[in-house]
């Protein structure tokens, strides 16, 4: 089964079910909101991919050379241009482009063997997911936990310490942090492997279906493959996760502080309610709502960080693919990859918005 299809089933199906559940449960206003919100996703994606189209097609240069190399004959050039549709007016190209994106006809790569891009992305999307999901989990857990601690102990030394941590970690260039971690843990201490997603030989024993190594190795009960995959994942995920934890820490802290200033919390404290613990957990739960929203929107930072992390650790994901393809002027691949990124981002922000609208009693439509 194509990895993309599988991916949609794993992530898409539960999402659709959840959406349906919310839809049936909520009142009229909620339903209207959800419908509007879903409808807004479309223009959002269109705008993003259009920006990409404009940026890439406007460029001065010879797309054809990248395919054919310097020894191309004129006949070959014309054939290729026709094939790629570059001889048609820009407007027609744009229309075709939009149509292709929405039917997920991502075209063929211009470079080398000209494989269908959907295959190339299908191979790489799982790699990116296996990087950003652990990183996000680490960042979320660390960031939210530490951020809450910092907020609750505001103006105390630990607060400042944590704020310094978050600022320092955020200020580090991700690629520098990655290089340093690699130097320390892979080169000097030899605790983690140098590069790649899995040990070379173990790789030959693993049957890949989803191309999510963790999932595949569990499915085939290949425990050494699982171990190898996790072992390789640690450092890249840690790099990305550390930098993000700084961001999440700050966000959590600010939101929790704001919540703690809310009237009802202050009032509860003033009344000396016995179960301060209960008050606090109630308050913090409310604080989490905006935190989750804002963090959900930080997926952009996650993807941007993924590009740099993948480059440093030679992680064969979509981010690295994008950078390589831009270098070789493979427009089709660049357009399609960015379009996939855009879809990704749009879907996640949609999900976050819907969740937020359900959870937060204060939001009015």
């Amino acid at each position: 089964m194509h990895p993309f299809v599988l991916m949609f089933m794993i992530f898409g199906l539960p999402a659709v079910i959840a959406l349906a559940w919310v839809f049936t449960r909520g009142g009229d206003a909620l339903r209207r909101y959800i419908v509007t919100r879903v409808a807004l996703t479309l223009p959002m994606v269109v705008i993003l991919v259009s920006v990409v189209f404009v940026v890439l097609r406007v460029m001065p240069g010879d797309v054809v050379s990248s395919t054919l190399g310097p020894k191309a004959t004129d006949i070959a050039r014309e054939t290729i241009m026709e094939e790629l549709g570059l001889d048609r007016p820009l407007i027609v190209q744009y229309g075709t482009f939009l149509r292709d994106v929405f039917t997920l006809d991502l075209g063929n790569s211009f470079v080398g063997a000209r494989r269908p891009i959907i295959d190339e992305l299908g191979e790489r999307l799982p790699a990116t997911l296996e990087l950003i999901i652990p990183a996000a989990l680490f960042a979320l857990i660390t960031g939210i936990y530490l951020g809450t601690r910092a907020a609750v102990r505001r103006k105390r030394p630990s607060d400042y310490g944590l704020r310094m941590y978050s600022v320092i970690v955020y200020s580090m260039p991700i690629f520098w942090l990655g290089l340093l971690l690699r130097l320390v843990f892979s080169v000097w201490l030899d605790w983690t492997p140098i590069a790649g997603r899995i040990d070379v030989v173990t790789n030959t024993t693993l049957e890949r279906t989803t191309n999510l190594l963790v999932v595949d190795s569990i499915l085939t009960a290949n425990w050494s493959a699982l171990g190898s995959a996790l072992h390789h994942m640690v450092l890249p995920a840690l790099t990305l996760g550390l930098v993000l934890s700084g961001v999440f820490l700050r966000l959590t802290r600010i939101n929790v502080i704001e919540t703690l200033q809310e009237d009802y919390v202050v009032a509860a404290r003033a009344r000396g309610i016995r179960k301060r613990a209960v008050t606090y957990s109630y308050a913090l739960k409310n604080a989490m709502i905006p935190v989750v929203t804002v963090i959900g929107l930080q997926v952009a930072i996650l993807l941007a960080g993924a590009v740099l992390t993948e480059t440093v650790f030679n992680w064969p994901g979509m981010g690295r693919y994008l950078v390589q393809r831009i270098s070789s002027r493979d427009f089709q691949a660049v357009q399609s990859t960015v379009a996939v990124f855009a879809l990704f981002v749009a879907l996640i922000s949609l999900a976050v918005d819907v969740v937020y609208s359900v959870l937060d009693p204060r939001v009015k439509y």
């Binding site: 580090m172 290089l179 600010i254």
Partner: protein, 419 residues
């Protein structure tokens, strides 16, 4: 876990806060804001320091960042080895200046050492001395690049080479095995060939410290310019959208939200890859990314300010929108904008470094931290200083601006102050 006990009593100065002007706030800030004041103070000093470096790099940097001032890959503080000329005992020569002019004399050197350069420089010096003495002819060398010192010395023994140039310490370790070979003397007597560099040299022999200082100029230039670009476009758009409302507002917000949600680096990569490597293009690419940030904040503030009584009053009195925007709304927006600006600069510098790291950045002859980091990767084992210092520099600059923003947030944000 012990829970923090919030104070219910509010100190006098906080109560007065609302009634006090900006200047007074600043002066009394230390007492009022506690450690946050330190955040802002220290980071402001750092920022000023970096701005000075950026404005006057030639004052602080000893060398030109493009000049090849020393041997390659010299460690921080390390002095280059003394290179000596090694000849056979029975050799007719005594120094490089003795070599026959206009004939390529074979000199063997070891690969990846400064010996070859030292030998060639000595030959050039000898040629100049000849010219000064009125003699014709150039001293020329044919350099045989050999993998190990032993092989090079063997080639001297068997006549393949006329001389060997190597470091005196390296030869000292093996000279016992070569009794027929003698050191004729140091290859160079110039003092500058023995200087060390505080942060070492890079892979072509440029001074790392000077490149760091000049790199600050570029980094800060890019950071500020990009931030100003975003500022200049984002704020007016935000003001207009917030004030005018309606369809314009909705469309603009949709566009801005889309750009905001999108991974900035990726968009910047695409833009720079298309436009090509130049400072202006990078500034444009990064600038575009932060427009939505200003837009959103300003629009939000405008929306809430619009509801204030005094604005309503002004409107009913017939004041023109531009006046209202300029006089009432814009000043309220300034504190938030200041915070965003400093964080924006920090982010812009990071993104700029990321872009040059990926190789999509600047043209060759501009010293830049990102490029130094990218090149330094290869030498991660042998020359750790190549990536450590540029990375540290980026971190410190970004840290300075971010800390400043952080601190300002604590000071300015009314919601964070205790009621």
């Amino acid at each position: 876990m012990a829970h923090d006990r919030p104070r219910i009593d509010i100190p006098d100065w906080e109560r007065e806060l609302e009634r006090v002007g900006f200047a007074r706030r600043l002066l009394r800030a230390r007492k009022w804001y506690g450690a946050d004041w330190w955040f802002v103070a220290i980071s402001s000093l750092m920022v000023v320091g970096f701005l000075l470096l950026a404005a006057f790099p030639q004052v602080f940097a000893k060398y030109d960042p493009l000049d090849l001032v020393g041997p390659r890959l010299l460690a921080p503080g390390e002095r280059p080895n003394q290179e000596v000329l090694i000849l056979r005992e029975d050799s007719e020569f005594e120094s490089i200046a003795d070599f026959e002019p206009d004939v390529r004399t074979r000199v063997a050197v070891v690969i990846d050492t400064p010996s070859s350069e030292a030998a060639r420089d000595a030959a050039d010096v000898a040629t100049e001395e000849r010219a000064a003495a009125g003699l014709e002819g150039r001293i020329r060398l044919e350099i045989l690049r050999i993998e190990t010192l032993d092989e090079a010395l063997d080639s001297l023994l068997n006549g393949e080479a006329v001389a060997v140039v190597a470091s005196s310490s390296a030869f000292g370790e093996v000279d016992a095995g070569y009794p027929d070979l003698v050191i004729a003397g140091p290859v160079s007597t110039l003092e500058q060939d023995a200087t060390s560099f505080p942060l070492g040299t890079n892979q072509v022999g440029q001074d790392v410290l000077s490149r760091l200082i000049w790199g600050a100029r570029i980094a800060i230039l890019i950071g500020f310019s990009a931030a100003i670009l975003s500022f200049v476009i984002g704020i007016p758009l935000g003001l207009i959208a917030g004030f005018a409302g309606g369809k314009l507002d909705r469309i603009l917000t949709l566009i801005m939200d889309s750009i905001y949600a999108f991974p900035g680096l990726i968009l910047a990569i695409a833009i720079t890859a298309v436009l090509g490597p130049s400072i202006l293009n990078i500034i444009a690419a990064i600038g575009v990314l932060y427009i939505p940030t200003y837009y959103r904040v300003v629009r939000g503030q405008t929306l809430s300010a619009k509801q204030e009584l005094y604005v309503e009053a002004a409107r009913s009195l017939g004041a023109r929108p531009r006046a209202i925007l300029g006089r009432y709304i814009f000043p309220n927006v300034i504190p938030s904008v200041a915070v965003i600006f400093s964080v924006n600069v920090a982010d812009a510098i990071l993104t700029g470094a990321g872009l040059s790291f990926l190789g999509l950045g600047l043209p060759l002859d501009i010293p830049d931290w990102g490029i130094d980091l990218a090149r330094g990767q290869e030498f991660i084992r042998s020359a750790w200083w190549l990536i450590t210092f540029p990375g540290l520099a980026v971190m410190l600059v970004v840290l300075a601006f971010t800390m400043m923003g952080e601190g300002l947030v604590e000071i300015f944000n009314p919601k964070l102050r205790r009621k």
